[in-house]
Amino acid sequence: MATPFSPMLDALTRQRGVTAALVVSERDGIVVESNLQIGQDGDRVAALAASLYRKARLAARAAGMGAVSFMQLEAPGGRLCAVGGGALVLVVVAEASVNVGLVRVELLKAIEGLSAAGGEG
């Protein structure tokens, strides 16, 4: 069933190297909608990524740096990118070789749609 989030998740997972895209509630860490590959544990990624994003946002605010626009986690096996839109966080899991610039552009483009689709909180 198509939801307001489906087009942006489809656009993200079409990027080369992107293996998962999720819309997650920032406060609850619960998946709102996701595009996952078989075997990926969306609930686990969502809970931990939302927690990480929330803490990054609070840390940035505490340091007087303003709002977090884009968060990237780099690990040997891949990357995790996230942007926030109101009460929701858009999370992308990608291979290490992904073009982060393109993913970042897509995420920032999607954030407007995310807010319009109900992310304002």
């Binding site: 406060r27 860490g29 686990r44 969502a46």
Partner: protein, 157 residues
């Protein structure tokens, strides 16, 4: 905040849960209301009240689930203004237990659910292999057992 357990093998899994989720309170109890472990409570009377309420909520939500869905509801999440509660069944070879936790804005339901699943798996792995025969929580023994467990948790044993 102090953590206290009636049986030592419960402590490590519960400590892991509390440290990973940042839960303010945690309580593991038998459906009869007898406490097995607690974290964050300062007074025995608060543990006793929380156990009684948790057992009551578990029993009533179980019956409600049977009415609506043909089987008991196994988890409950309630959001307050500043804190949230999560109450769920923990199943392991010794039988069914109830887990209650209270968490604030530092944590989230997703994290609590994630580490609750890990807690149950860790308890199953850590539980003594010999399974005690299931004995009903008889009213005549209930208060004695409850008081014994509270005394162990609050250092009066």
């Amino acid at each position: 905040m102090q953590m206290a357990v009636v049986e030592a093998w419960i402590e490590a899994p519960l400590k892991h849960f509390v440290s990973e989720t940042g839960a303010e309170l945690a309580l593991l109890l038998h459906p009869s209301g007898q406490v097995l472990a607690q974290h964050g409570f300062a007074r025995a009377v608060d543990v006793m009240s929380a156990c009684a309420l948790a057992a009551g909520i578990h029993a009533s939500s179980g019956e409600l689930g049977k009415l609506l869905d043909g089987r008991p509801f196994r988890g409950l999440h309630h959001v307050g203004r500043e804190r949230q509660i999560f109450l769920a069944e923990a199943l392991w070879p010794r039988g069914t237990y109830i887990f209650l936790t209270v968490f604030g804005s530092e944590s989230s339901l997703g994290l609590v659910r994630l580490y609750f699943d890990e807690l149950v798996a860790a308890l199953v792995a850590a539980a003594p292999k010999e399974v005690a025969p299931a004995t009903p929580a008889l009213a005549e023994h209930f208060e004695r057992d409850l008081n014994r467990n509270l005394a162990v948790l609050f250092g009066r044993a």
